[in-house]
């Protein structure tokens, strides 16, 4: 170090020591006044709407319109979360129409805990449920929803959904999807048996014209299981079906 720089350094440090030796009590600089604006707005409310599946489904016997949407409003930790999905048989009644209103809380880096209410407008008679579940990203990047439902009649059931995005290219994405429903008690009026009710395996191939807008084609295979399958047979319904899908995935 050069001599003049060294002297400057000594003088500078000496100044600091002199002032700090003057008093035992360090003095704080006043904090910014409360009435000043926030430096950053790090608690924004974000609104997200995801139409995950809006599709036309056709198999040997019936055509159906299927919807599955969810969304949320809120901040990083707490959100209002809603979900709806349903099946509308072309030329017939709505087979299923389900609505959920949930409070969601981030409980782990990749998981939210959800709790709230579910209302099934169809099939009739309508039913209401208490809901608790988790939703998030499981290891190996599976999108997972695991939810338990308790109906107003005390019937307990559960649902597991999982999907995975396989990037064929940056925009062409193959998505396998798995869903199964489980019931702890029988609800004969609705054709629900005890145990695993059904299993569904889908494969969708979407093209993201934009991230927010992706038409897709796909195939779906569903099978009723156990007593639920027996109820279906007794009603003269198919227990197994395979369908082609044409649909749209969009979000905002």
């Amino acid at each position: 170090m050069k001599a003049h720089a060294f002297r400057a350094s000594l003088a500078f440090v000496a100044t600091l020591f002199v002032v700090s030796a003057g008093s035992a009590e360090p003095r704080r600089f006043p904090l910014p006044p409360e009435e000043w604006p926030e430096t950053i707005d790090d608690q924004p409310t974000v609104t997200f709407l995801m139409l995950d599946r809006l599709e036309y489904r056709t198999d040997e016997k019936t055509d159906a319109r299927v919807w599955d949407a969810q969304g949320w409003v809120g901040g990083d930790w707490n959100k209002f979360w809603f979900k709806t999905d349903g099946v509308d048989i072309v030329g017939d009644d709505i087979e299923k129409a389900e609505f959920q209103a949930l409070y969601a809380r981030l409980i782990a880096p990749f998981w939210v805990l959800q709790a709230g209410l579910r209302h099934d407008a169809d099939p009739t008679p309508t039913r209401n449920f208490a809901v608790v579940g988790v939703q998030g990203l499981a290891p190996l990047r599976f999108d997972v929803e695991a939810t338990a439902f308790l109906s107003e009649d005390g019937d307990l059931s559960a649902r597991l959904e999982a999907e995975y995005d396989l990037l064929l290219t940056q925009r062409l994405i193959l998505q396998p999807r798995f869903e199964t429903n489980f019931a702890a008690s029988e609800v004969e009026a609705l054709g629900i048996g005890r145990g695993f009710n059904d299993i569904e395996l889908d494969l969708r191939l979407r093209y993201e014209i934009r991230r927010e807008f992706a038409p897709y084609i796909g195939v779906s295979w569903q099978r009723a299981l156990g007593d639920t399958a027996d109820f279906a047979r007794a009603e003269g319904e198919e227990v197994e079906s395979a369908a082609f899908l044409l649909g749209l995935r969009a979000w905002y």
């Binding site: 003057g22 000043w36 924004p44 974000v46």
Partner: protein, 627 residues
Amino acid sequence: MDQTGNSDNRGLTRRRLLQAMAALGLLGGWRSVVPAYARDSGGTHALRVTDGGVDLVIARTPIDIGGRVGSALTINGTVPGPLLRFREGEWATLRVTNRLDEMTALHWHGLRVPQDMDGVAGLSFPGIGPGETFTYRFRPRQNGTYWYHSHQGLQQQSGQYAPLIIDPAASDPVEYDREYVVFLSDWTFEDPDAVFGKLKKQSDYYNFQQRTMGDFLRDVERYGLRATLRDRAMWGRMRMSPADIADVTGYTYTFLLNGLPSQSNWIGLFRPGERVRLRFINGAASTFFNVRIPGLPLTVVQADGQNVRPVTVDEFQIAVAETYDVIVQPHEERAYTLFAESMDRSGYARGTLAPRMGMSAPVPALRERPLRTMVDMGMDMDMGEADGMAMPGMASAPQPGMAMGEEGMPPAEEGVMSGMGRDREAMAGGEHSGPMPGMEQAGPIAGRHGPDTHGPANASVAAVQRNRLGERGAGLDTVPHRVLVYSDLNALEPNRDLRPPAREIELHLTGNMETFMWGFDGKKFSEVKEPIFIDYGERVRITLVNDTMMEHPMHLHGMFKEIVNGADPAHRPRKHTISVKPAERMSFDITADAPGNWAFHCHLLYHMEVGMLRLVNVGLPPQRERP
């Protein structure tokens, strides 16, 4: 970089803007939106800031970027704003008028000004309201290349930034015949709030360089099925993407050099044999650039406004908010391309140095985008993951001169702090480097993570933390030429305070890419009640541990950081901004000689805005006791 997306609303926006501009009589005046210094030789068109003052007006202005009209926030009508020239030691007055319908603020990046002149709304002053004029007055006690920008919301993304030079009071140790400002930035035609919203909803929205099935098949061919599956499983278990290099990419960004897109080709003139000083400033909101001028060695003479011992390289990485002054000496009567490639290789800014206007040189092709590595993950190489397999995505070409223990590797720090468990075992690159290709470049292990994983706002921790100041930036580990690293930097003028730090403050840089939450120690700004209190005159070491998988350009207001980079303490480089690499543990010392409330934050605009900011409160000098 051509625009590839968001074409759906282009026509509407353009038409509406044209109508508005016609109404305002602005048509035909587009050229004025590029500042004078950007059109030709810089330095001569600066606004000289004196005590008499200059006037700066913040307004919303339509600008033409590559033939497309965008709506910018401008300083005196241009993007970037006017080059300000100060004289060291002389008083300067700046009257800043806000013609927006929202609050604004101008911050003098890297300038040690009184805290109430620092220009951070909410910390140093209440901001500049619509229609108001705020007068900044200060006396620069430093010299060099700096910049200034909005420190309010996402305004900086819309073009509210500009260069700033303080000419030295004494003679300049850097000799040059000619100088140019090279101001790099990233422009989007999207509303920055929309960009922000997309990142919150799908954080990899802008990444169109993900690994696909094609990459999988290629890796199987190259490394075998087993190694490839293990690699995918490892990343999958972490629920992260090795292709996550940048949050916002060339999908929406047009990269600008002095406000011009690559096709507009900014030209700086020279006479062969001249020493040309290029003052590089990265004023981007979210983009790191790798900079080179094929055919010309770059002699770095200044970093963040502070002179350094000259070091000659062929390429350097400039993090967001950094500046580097570089001397080049073109001898040939030909054009040279000034190439600033975005770190994720999704685009580039480009200009030309040439003896005459209208010339150009070949523009290099974009290189393949880099991938994050196991070192970036902070993974423990002893844990059995790395037992001799070839890893896709790991740099594989041997690096001349970059092996551990050779040039450029900083020695282990003095370790004045107790209880930090500094681990020097890996200094020789021995046991931890193992057989992993590319591992020989990893810096020595500097620490290991404790049991606190920082809660749901943090997705991973750096189990193994390394000193990475001697490592090249992402994507440059295998380029076959000289690349600047932080351990190359030595301050030219020695540091004044050589006391060892009496206290160490450790902060972890944390984040959750899935929810796009960023902060310190798992908390965002609004969740932290206490500032970081430092007494006046205190000498403090701040140690940063990056638990995330991205670089964070950390910027401290009010005081220079003396980077503990292996240089002797008197010549540790003074920086206002330093990029902390993934899984890095690094330290800097500060002397708390600037009373006030100072911001310490990640300068990636979107990271700061979601909470990656802390308040540092430096106390007042103690009152002298009366005798």
